[in-house]
Amino acid sequence: MEWTINGQAVSASLDPRVSLLDLLRDHLGLTGTKKGCNQGACGACTVLVDGERINSCLALAVQYDGRAITTVEGLGSTDALHPLQQAFIEHDGFQCGYCTPGQLCSAIGMAGEIERGVPSAVTADLAAAAIVLNDDELRERMSGNLCRCGAYNGIVEAVRATLAPGKAA
C-alpha cells in the first residue's frame, strides 16, 4: 500500500486491521495525530484526506491506499508555524494540547467546506450561494472536536482570527 503523507510518498505492508490513525502513530511515528476515543466521538484523530477532514480512527489504512493525507506535522513546523497554529498559541486555544492537532486539521477542513458552500445544521438559508463563517457556524462546525480543558473560547477566537471572512489562511 502507498500513501502520500504530508507530501511524502510512504509505503507499507500491513495487517488489514490497522487503522489509518494507528498507521500514522504506531507505524510511521507521526504521533501528532491523537487517539482520544478510537470510535469517532472526540475528533482528536482528525486528519485531512485530499483536503477533507476525517476521523482517522474510523478509517482503515487500506481504505486510503493511494490518497494524500495531511496531519498536524504537515501544517507547519516549530520554526515555521501555519497561521492557524500561531493563532492557537496567541489566543490560548488549548491547555493540555491533546485535542489541538485535531482541532487544527478540523478547522482547516471546515474552511474548505465553507468555501464549497456545504451547509451545517445552523445554516439559515440552505439555498444561499455562499456561507458566511459567523460564530454560530464556527461553533457548530467545530463541535465534533471535543476539548475537555474547555478552551472553546480561545479556539473560536483563533479560528475566527485566521479563517473568518477577510482573513488569509
Binding site: 491523537k34 466521538a41 472526540c42 491533546y98 463541535s143 480543558c149 474547555g150 480561545g154
Partner: protein, 733 residues
C-alpha cells in the same frame, strides 16, 4: 516583569505542531502491546479461563490472569494508593474490573486475542444502585486521611431550625461522573534488569514512582517515571491506577517493553470517578434572612471496601461558607459493586456547593431577598467552623464586580418573567469557594555562564501552564529574558515535587522555584563581590542588581561569565525546598468567587442553553493572566457539563455502565459554550505563599451547577434539585 503578564505558553509551539510527546508516544525498540480484559459480571468469583482459542492466536506472547500473575506487594499500609484490581485473586468486585492482560506483538493481535479470551464466573449478589442501599450508609473510616472527623456540629442546629421563621429543607442529588481527559491513560513500561522505566500519563510522577517501587518490591531509585506532557487529568491521573502497574507487570512477564493504552470504554472502570451523591440540606433563618441553622448531610457512593476508601467531602464548604452559630455536617458512604471513586475537579465542593448554593437560592425566594443580598447578610468575616481569620477574602468585590459586569440589577427577579420572543430567559448566581492548598516542593536552578538558566522540578504540566509560569518566576528573579529560561518537568530524577491536585501546583512549586532562583541570584552577587576582591570589599550584597548576566552595584559592574570564567566554574547551581509553614494553623485558607449565568429555555422543547456567563474570582495573585483566564474559563465549561450534560449510567441488572464512551457520556462541545467573561479581583494573599498565589484549577468549576439551576428556576419557575438538569425536568413540571 514577566509574572502576571498574559504571556503565550512556552510549550505552545510543541503542542500545535504535534511535537509534544505524551505517554504512549515514546518510541521503544522491540515494543509489544498489552490490552486489558474486563469482567462482565458485577460480583462473584472467577471460576476459570478458557484460553484455548486466544493462546494459539498469532503474535500472542502472554495471557496474564490471577492464576499466573506475579505476586505484588499490595500491602495497604505500604502506601496510600490503589491496590486492586491487580490480578492478585479471583474475586470480582465490579463489572468492568480488570481480570486479565493479553500481550501480543501488535496492537491488533493483542486486541483480537483479548476479545477471544473466555472468562467463567460464579456470579454473586450485587448492589449496583446506591439509592437502593441508602439505609446501609456508614461513616468513612479515614475521612481526609484521618485528619478530621467526617461530622461536625456547632451550637444547636436542630433546636435553632425548629424555631426558625424561614425554613428550607430539600434533598439534592448528583450522579456519577467521569473525568474523560482527552488523553486516555497510557503507560509504556520497560525493565532493564531490576530497574523499571515507565512513560505514563500521571498527575504525580512522585506518587507513581513510590507506588510502582512498593508494588514490585524495589527501591524508588530503581523506578524512573517520565511524563513531560499530560493530556488532561482532572483527578483521574492522580493515583497510580492498576493499568500502569499491570503494564509494568506485563513487561516483566514477557521481558520486552510493553505499551498499555486504556481504551475510552475502559476509562470508565479503570481510574475512578466522581461518586454519585444524595445530600440533604436544612436551612433555618430569621425573617430577615439571617441564618440561624445550617445542616448538610451528605451520602456518597463508594465501592466495595476491599478496593480502598474514597469519601467525597461534600459538606466541608457548607461548614465555612456562611456566618451561622448553629451548624452540623455529616458524611456517609454507601458501598456498591462499582470501581473505587476518586477526586474529580473540585472533589467535594463541586457536588456540595451545588446543594448549598441551590438551597441558598431557595432561601432567597422564601425571604423575598435578592440572592446577593441574602449572601451579604450572612457574610462570614472569619471562618465560622474554627474562628480563624481568612488569609484573604475579597468575596464582596467578586459579588459586586460580577453583578455589575453581568447587569444583574437589570433583571426582573420574578420567575418566568423574562422572554426573548417565545424563549424563556433566566439569570442565576452562586458563590464558589475552594481551599488553598500547598505542599513541600523542591526546585533546582542552574544559572549558566552564557546567561541562560535551567529550572528543574519533579512537577508536571497537565495543561495548566506549569512550564510557562515557572519560567516567568525564574526569569524575573534571575533578571533574564524569558526565552533564556528552560523549564524541565515530568521526570522522577528531578527534585521531588508534589502531585498536581487540589489546585496546589503553582503555590507549591513556584515558591520553590522562586527560592532557588533567589539563591542563585544571591550566589552570583556574592561571587562577583568576592571576585573583585579588595575593590568591592565590604560592599552590601543587597545594594547589587543582577540583570541579563551583569552584576552591578555602587562599586561598579561585572559580567557573570567573566566571574565564572576566572574561577573555572561553568554554572551556578542552587536548590531550594519550600514548605507551607504555619499558614494553615493561623488562618483559614480559601479562594472565593461568584458566578453569574444566563440561560435560555425553550418552553416547548425544554432545551436549556447557557447564553451568557460572568465569573468573578479571588484566586490570589495571577502568575500569567492568559493561562489563568483559560483555566478559569475551562473550569466553568467543566461545570456547564456537570449542570446540563454529564451522567454515568449503570444498568441495575448487570452493574455495567451503559454509556461508557464519549459519544453517550455527554461533555460540553464548542456549540454549548458562550463567550465567557472572567474577572479576577486584586487579591494577593501574603499569608499562603510569598508570591501571593492561591490556586485556580478547581475554583471556577464550583458553583457553576448551582448558578445554572438557579437560572433555570428563574427562567421557568421549576426548581431542579438533581443533576444533570434535563429537558424533561422543565417540561414535565
Amino acid at each position: 516583569m514577566y509574572v502576571g503578564q498574559p504571556i503565550d505558553r512556552i510549550d505552545g509551539r510543541h503542542k500545535v505542531t504535534g511535537a509534544a510527546l505524551y505517554a504512549a508516544e515514546f518510541p521503544q525498540p522491540d515494543l509489544v502491546h498489552a490490552v486489558l480484559v474486563q469482567s462482565t459480571v458485577a460480583a462473584g468469583e472467577i471460576t476459570g479461563f478458557d484460553q484455548s482459542a486466544a493462546a494459539g492466536m498469532p503474535g500472542v506472547l502472554a495471557i496474564i490472569t490471577p492464576d499466573n500473575a506475579p505476586k505484588l506487594n499490595t500491602d495497604k499500609k505500604a502506601q496510600q494508593t490503589v491496590t486492586a484490581p491487580l490480578l492478585q485473586d479471583r474475586s470480582v468486585l465490579y463489572n468492568g474490573q480488570h481480570v486479565a492482560v493479553v500481550v501480543a506483538d501488535t496492537f491488533e493481535r493483542a486486541t483480537a486475542a483479548g476479545a477471544t479470551l473466555r472468562v467463567q464466573y460464579r456470579a454473586g449478589e450485587a448492589v449496583t444502585d446506591m439509592h437502593a442501599a441508602l439505609s446501609q450508609a456508614y461513616p468513612p473510616k479515614r475521612f481526609r486521611n484521618g485528619e478530621r472527623s467526617p461530622d461536625s456540629t456547632r451550637g444547636d442546629p436542630d433546636g435553632a431550625f425548629n424555631g426558625a421563621a424561614l425554613k428550607v429543607e430539600a434533598t439534592y442529588e448528583t450522579p456519577t461522573e467521569h473525568h474523560n481527559p482527552m488523553e486516555p491513560h497510557a503507560t509504556i513500561a520497560r525493565w532493564d534488569g531490576d530497574r523499571l522505566t515507565v512513560w505514563t500519563a500521571t498527575q504525580a510522577i512522585s506518587g507513581a514512582q513510590r507506588t510502582l517501587a512498593t508494588m514490585f518490591g524495589i527501591d524508588p531509585e530503581q523506578v524512573l517515571v517520565i511524563c513531560p506532557f499530560v493530556g488532561g487529568g482532572f483527578g483521574c491521573k492522580g493515583n497510580t491506577w492498576p493499568p500502569a502497574t499491570l503494564a509494568a507487570m506485563a513487561s516483566r512477564v514477557v521481558g520486552r517493553p510493553v505499551k498499555l493504552v486504556v481504551t475510552r470504554q475502559q476509562m470508565f472502570t479503570s481510574n475512578g470517578y466522581r461518586p454519585a451523591t444524595v445530600q440533604r440540606i436544612r436551612l433555618g433563618a430569621d425573617a430577615d434572612g439571617r441564618l440561624v441553622s445550617v445542616r448538610h448531610d451528605g451520602i456518597t457512593q463508594m465501592s466495595q471496601p476491599a478496593l480502598g476508601e474514597f469519601a467525597e467531602p461534600v459538606a466541608l464548604a457548607t461548614e465555612m461558607l456562611y456566618a451561622c452559630p448553629n451548624a452540623a455536617i455529616t458524611h456517609r458512604l454507601v458501598g456498591v459493586h462499582a470501581g473505587l471513586p476518586t477526586y474529580m475537579r473540585a472533589p467535594g465542593e463541586a457536588s456540595g456547593v451545588f446543594a448549598i448554593e441551590s438551597a441558598m437560592d431557595e432561601l432567597a425566594v422564601a425571604a423575598k431577598l435578592d440572592p446577593i443580598e441574602l449572601r451579604l447578610r450572612n457574610y462570614a468575616e472569619a471562618d465560622p467552623s474554627n474562628g480563624k481569620p481568612f488569609a484573604s477574602k475579597p468575596l464582596r468585590d467578586c459579588y459586586a464586580r460580577g453583578a455589575d459586569a453581568f447587569g444583574w440589577a437589570k433583571r426582573d427577579p420574578a420567575p418566568r418573567s423574562m422572554r426573548d420572543g417565545r424563549v424563556l430567559i433566566g439569570c442565576g448566581m452562586a458563590t464558589t469557594t475552594y481551599p488553598t492548598n500547598r505542599s513541600q516542593a523542591e526546585a533546582k536552578v542552574r544559572l549558566n555562564a552564557d546567561g541562560s538558566a535551567i529550572v528543574q522540578t519533579g512537577s508536571q504540566d497537565l495543561g495548566t501552564g506549569t512550564y510557562t509560569v515557572l519560567a516567568q518566576v525564574a526569569a524575573d528573579a534571575l533578571g533574564l529574558p524569558l526565552h533564556r529560561v528552560r523549564v524541565e518537568l515530568g521526570d522522577s530524577r528531578l527534585p521531588p515535587a508534589p502531585g498536581s491536585g487540589g489546585s496546589q501546583t503553582a503555590a507549591s512549586v513556584a515558591s520553590a522555584v522562586l527560592a532557588a532562583s533567589e539563591a542563585a541570584r544571591a550566589e552570583a552577587i556574592h561571587l562577583a563581590i568576592a571576585d573583585r576582591g579588595a575593590a568591592w570589599g565590604g560592599a552590601d550584597p543587597g545594594s547589587f542588581d543582577f540583570r541579563d548576566g551583569i552584576i552591578s552595584g555602587p562599586p561598579g559592574r561585572v559580567g557573570l561569565s567573566d566571574v565564572l570564567g576566572r574561577h573555572g566554574v561553568r554554572q551556578i547551581q542552587q536548590s531550594a525546598t519550600t514548605s507551607p509553614g504555619d499558614a494553615k494553623k493561623t488562618h483559614s485558607l480559601h479562594s472565593f468567587g461568584a458566578h453569574f449565568a444566563e440561560v435560555r429555555v425553550d418552553p416547548d422543547f425544554g432545551t436549556i442553553r447557557v447564553s451568557r456567563w460572568v465569573g468573578a474570582f479571588d484566586c490570589g495573585k495571577l502568575l500569567n493572566a492568559k493561562t489563568a483566564e483559560s483555566q478559569l474559563k475551562g473550569g466553568i465549561v467543566f461545570g456547564i457539563g456537570m449542570a446540563l450534560l454529564e451522567e454515568t449510567r449503570t444498568d441495575p441488572e448487570t452493574g455495567r455502565i451503559t454509556n461508557a464512551n464519549i459519544a453517550e457520556y455527554l461533555v460540553p462541545v464548542n456549540a454549548d459554550v458562550p463567550d465567557i467573561r472572567t474577572i479576577v479581583v486584586d487579591s494577593a494573599d501574603p499569608v499562603t505563599t510569598p508570591l501571593g498565589i492561591k490556586g485556580i484549577g478547581e475554583l471556577p468549576t464550583v458553583g457553576v451547577a448551582a448558578a445554572i439551576a438557579n437560572a433555570v428556576y428563574h427562567a421557568t419557575g421549576v426548581r431542579v434539585r438533581r443533576l444533570p438538569i434535563r429537558l424533561e425536568d422543565v417540561l414535565m413540571a
